[in-house]
Symmetry: C2
Subunit: 211 residues, 2 copies
DNA sequence: TGTGTGACTATATTGTCAATTCGTCACTCA
DNA sequence: TGAGTGACGAATTGACAATATAGTCACACA
């Protein structure tokens, strides 16, 4: 099991073609980031991206299987921001419960910021989840890894109970993270997110702590 | 604060016109239930319902403000089924933690059943949430009431901790219920719902129990 | 006065067809 | 051989006219 390092931005592997490092790939990603951010995924065409760089659309497909693969790259960048932050928190030298509490707040804050300030990127994440893109699954798995890391340390340090299955418990914790960042849930309830995050984390942490 | 009784089906009040008890209203609701269940809310027209009963569309509006109000009535019926069941569980003479655990499982099961066997009704609930229908809010509030009832009894009986705010804690618990019945979350993840419900409820119950 | 509606308006949706988009393939050229 | 593309077919989208739908109102009638 490979542990995410503190500087990893989660690169998608699904749908990528050609060399991973290439100027044109970087240009496509840069153009896609700008266009998706401004026009949204659905309103941006592959031809828009090609034209922005000065290429034919056919050449885009030398690097990406499909428009979706470009979308997954941008989605991965986006989700990678919060994942990096969570990774830093998870690896900090602090009590496990503080780390977890801060993870809830952090993911809630970034998700809220993205909703209000990068709405079109928020929308891509929604599309990714609804369409079962691999990047969405990878992200979920990466968050679960971080939770496992923190909870396992909390258990080893005697902070957390050890009666329950580590994996099952962390699965449940990961589910509760959805409550503070899932795009659809954000849309339904715009207010009080950070407060909700605090309440949920308090409840979950009480469930984790040693009796 | 009025306590839901064990036999209450949650009637919507929003958008209802004319006498609450009326043959025509009942016919409209019956026709709507059948059409929405079969064709879905969006594909059913008010004219369909009127024709099914043998009325003009104008007459439907003597009983309901709008097509949405008809939708809220059916949605309310639908959500009322699970609410009745949760109410029975919440009022049973059993330890609070067992009641809560069973509430998670029950809502998960019914939601899953609705997803697989009444997909179009599942869709209406999705529309209701996405469009902020009053019935969706009422339902959320009703579930919270039941949780408050059970947790308060658990606290009074010495089963549950009393350090945290009752309301905040129950808010957080109600949020975790979304994980096992929210239509969008169900759609994203079709498998293992009941297992997830069990894991989440175990975590939450550990968070509620007295140290 | 309770039950019911035809006619109507504003808006939304649908149908049709041309235009665009996605993605591939065979090819060019330095 | 890496960098790049024009042409193409299938699917999707956009534009716009036609039609449908949601909802209202003044009225009818027993």
């Amino acid at each position: 099991m490979k542990k995410p390092t503190a500087e990893t931005v989660m690169p998608p592997t699904a749908g990528q073609r050609g060399p991973a490092e290439h100027d044109r790939r970087a240009q496509i990603i840069e153009a896609a980031d700008a266009y998706f951010r401004h026009y949204g995924y659905n309103k941006t065409t592959v031809a828009d991206l090609a034209k922005a760089i000065g290429l034919s659309t056919a050449y885009i497909y030398k690097f990406f299987d499909s428009k979706q693969a470009v979308g997954e790259a941008i989605c991965g960048k986006c989700l990678g921001i919060i994942l990096d932050e969570l990774t830093k928190i998870a690896h900090a030298k602090r009590p496990a419960d503080e780390r977890l509490a801060e993870m809830y707040i952090s993911i809630a804050r970034e998700s809220e910021r993205r909703f209000f300030h990068d709405r079109r990127l928020h929308d891509i994440i929604n599309i990714a989840r609804a369409s079962q893109w691999q990047i969405a699954k990878d992200h979920q798995a990466a968050v679960l890894e971080l939770i496992l890391h923190v909870v396992a340390e909390g258990r080893a340090a005697g902070e957390f109970e050890t009666d329950s299955s580590l994996f099952k418990t962390c699965n449940a914790v990961a589910e509760t993270f959805l409550l503070v960042w899932h795009p659809v849930l954000l849309e339904e309830r715009l207010d009080g997110l950070e407060e909700r995050a605090a309440e949920i984390s308090a409840l979950v942490l009480r469930g984790l702590r040693k009796k």
